[in-house]
Subunit: 493 residues, 2 copies
């Protein structure tokens, strides 16, 4: 199909390839061994305590202060993984890992990452590896349909999707695009400091339960933490849309410039779902960019019965969720869509001579460098493609349903146990609870669970009270792991 | 060393692990096959044309419009890599790839990436996987020594190193830290727009030849492209330090606030080296943050005989270079150091309840989430560790020397060829040239090279004239590949 031209092969030449060429490394042999090591690791992961038991400095104390001058035998290097690395890992793939968020991975996705590293191509421009760009556009369109997201996020319309490393970075892109839309692209000109055409500060809104990345992104973008308004939440910890509308009106009256609302579809602490549709009405009335951060929970929308979490997202300007959290794609893989790619690209595009090329000039291709902060980008679409095709959409739905069912079982047990108080119960894969007797008793549960080696949970605070979070999403978590966790929680072992 | 406690094993439970668990995928078998595929690909890479010959849309036309509902057999998925992906790749690892920058990889590094994906751990906090943080600190200290960088970049002092995805992101961190230092941490408070304590705009400086990421980062950070001063260059295309000093003085006189200078150690177009020591004197006199962007060329400092490129970097506030460009570590791996980590961390740290932990509160550990834009981070130190140990510092020096020698050979041939004009000749691995007869003739050379399938070069402009760039750095490039390129350049084939 794309054969080499009929030219003679390049002639042999006396100057040899140096010993540093990849041929000098027995990639086949050591690669097979590494695959076997990973297979053994994942199969036997339950023999490790979920949380490591090392003191700060332990890892560095095992390592020589200076690098080797001569290369070392591979066997010695590989054995150091067992000696130095393994004892100092939190085992995020362990079925007893219930902390933070699932960072679940899968065999097909790991091989996608391996292939990406092996090919070693750059996808900064379409022309620097067309497959890298086109496969990404294609699987992001697939994902758009799989999650029931609006048609206008598809690449066939004015919008489109792109893979980012994390939701933090996706939200930063949304912040910058929103800021530029609001200021008439001041960032490409005078910058915020010189944008004196209209008085008053740009202000952004998120709920008091919003993720820390929103404040961080606003700092980075020069908006400032003081210009992030934390909107009060309702009893279910979701943003109060009336309070939001009222705050926007007050800010407008005070001469400020509301420009962005970040709605959480699944807050980090309790998976509260902000009322996107109601927020969108206020955003539309006052010209705010609406970004939906569905980093973890959004993946639940793979299942039609959970798709209500996406109510109103068709009114959003941008949206992100993380296949690297709950869709078996190893970190990093955040899926980010915008309704209007032209604004994003205008905000982020700088085209120097050395990147000019014929394909870009036709206007017919996507250059994803203009959709993200970095210039370089690796071939992350492979792992998403492999994962979707291996499991199929039904397999991925099964995964979500299994985790939600396990959470439901646990939730019922918590509700029936008089010493425990369920906190903000939802219908998905996160279970939050505290002890009836207060923070010390809750902390004792956390310590018992995490000290056991069999499970790990993390915590948050709700209404000032310590809360234990059980996030169910490890790839191989099964009923017996939740049972064991339950025994630890209630102190039966 | 870290055994499991003496508790009974978790009992078996009737509820089975679902088919989506990784066990359902024969990771061992398919992993071995993928390793073999990559080994075959890299061994036989010369049979592919370096630049692909596909039209926009070709890849997507090979793919079904919707994802499969049921999972597909792995063999079908894997065979689509040959059918759909391979014909549409630029082969960056091909020894005839001389474009942009080398994105060179190596077997040990690919296995480091594989292991990182297989472990699937998160390094956002020390506590979320201590090995992920400590190994990174350790190899960054190693790198500091390997490159002859100042002792105060070491983690043992007030500075430290961190792995970023790209130099763009590292420079964004430098921009934000510099902005915050200059404004008394306004970003954590009122933001740029509200920073009315001192009049006049924050202004940044880089040479007219600086990388596009600097303007992009200044846009993102709200400084604005209009507040980037492009300092004129000298005949060797390096920044004119007198012009810089004079521009800073003029800006100060006009009431502006110079806050940042980005010096290039190796500009993208021609590898010009800005006079860091002279720039540092002006920065010190006026309180500017000095960031050194040595993305590609910095790696040359592995060899003592090239270490003059680092003259003056001990006076810089931050520095970055990319092992993923010229040190056999697959993308992404940028090495970024700061002289004063406290400023960087203060600029980027937001600590919500759900990330609080005992180790962080001791103040004795590094939490790298505060050293970068994203929160999540994967275990990138593994590939750097594997690469340094497998090749040893001498092996990596050999690689640099081999590439520099090949460039020297080519440079001599260009100099001896009357139809060609060497452009900004340096002593390292980049050779720039143009045709005596002007841009059309130069373009004809580029078209001939890139149309051959045997080699790929990219271009730039210098003094308004089209210039062909030969960047020598592919892992397996040898004399015969440069010979073949030379034959193509001079039109002998």
């Amino acid at each position: 199909m794309h054969p080499m031209p009929d030219e003679p092969p390049i002639e042999a030449h006396a100057r040899e390839t140096a010993a540093t060429a990849p041929q000098a490394f027995d990639f086949r042999k050591h690669g097979h061994a590494m695959v076997d090591w990973i297979a053994d690791y994942l199969e036997g992961i339950e023999r490790f305590p979920v949380q490591p038991r090392v003191e700060p400095g332990w890892v560095r104390a095992q390592l020589p202060a200076t690098p080797p001058v001569a290369g070392e035998p591979w066997e010695r290097i590989a054995s150091d993984v067992d000696r130095v690395i393994l004892p100092a890992l939190m085992h995020w793939q362990h079925p007893g890992f219930f902390g933070y968020f699932p960072a679940n991975a899968s065999g097909p996705s790991i091989l996608g990452e391996l292939l990406s590293a092996g090919l070693g191509v750059q996808g900064m421009l379409w022309s620097t590896s067309p497959a890298c760009t086109e496969l990404e556009t294609h699987v992001m369109d697939w994902m758009c349909g799989m999650l029931g997201l609006p048609e206008h996020f598809m690449s066939s319309g004015p919008g489109g999707g792109v893979i980012q490393d994390t939701a933090s970075s996706a939200t930063l892109c949304a912040v910058v695009a929103a800021r530029e839309r609001a200021t008439g692209f001041a960032g490409t000109g005078m910058g915020l400091q010189g944008d004196a055409r209209t008085p008053g500060a740009l202000v952004a809104y998120a709920s008091a339960e919003a993720h820390s990345s929103i404040e961080k992104d606003l700092r980075i973008a020069g908006i400032g933490a003081a210009n992030l308004r934390l909107v009060p939440v309702r009893s279910d910890r979701s943003m109060d849309p009336d309070a939001f509308a009222s705050m926007v009106r007050d800010d407008v009256r005070a001469g400020h410039r509301p420009f962005l609302c970040v709605a959480a579809v699944g807050t980090t602490s309790t998976h509260a779902v902000d009322p996107v549709r109601a927020l969108a009405a206020t955003c539309a009335a006052h010209g705010l960019w609406l970004h939906v951060d569905a980093a973890h929970l959004g993946i639940a929308a793979l299942c039609p019965e959970f798709r209500a979490i996406h109510d109103g997202v068709e009114l959003a300007d941008s949206y992100c969720t993380n296949p690297h959290k709950w869709m078996l794609v190893n970190f990093d893989c955040d899926a980010f869509w915008v309704r209007d790619r032209a604004t994003l690209v205008r905000a982020l595009s700088v085209l120097p001579e050395y990147l000019r090329n014929a394909a870009t000039e036709t206007g017919k291709v996507i250059d994803y460098r203009d959709w993200q902060v970095p210039l370089g980008r690796r071939f992350r679409a492979l792992k998403l493609w492999f994962t979707i095709r291996h499991f199929g959409t039904s397999g991925l739905q099964d995964l979500v349903r299994r985790h939600v069912a396990l959470a439901g079982d646990l939730r019922a047990r918590v509700a029936a146990e008089p010493s425990l108080v369920p906190v903000c119960p939802t219908s998905w894969s996160l279970v939050c609870l505290r002890h009836r007797d207060g923070d010390d008793a809750t902390q004792a549960i956390i310590d018992r669970v995490n000290g056991s080696g069999h499970a790990f949970v993390s915590h948050t605070k709700v209404d000032g009270r310590l809360v234990l979070r059980v996030s169910i999403g490890a790839p191989s978590v099964a009923g017996r792991h939740v049972d064991a966790l339950w025994e630890l929680i209630r102190g039966a072992r």
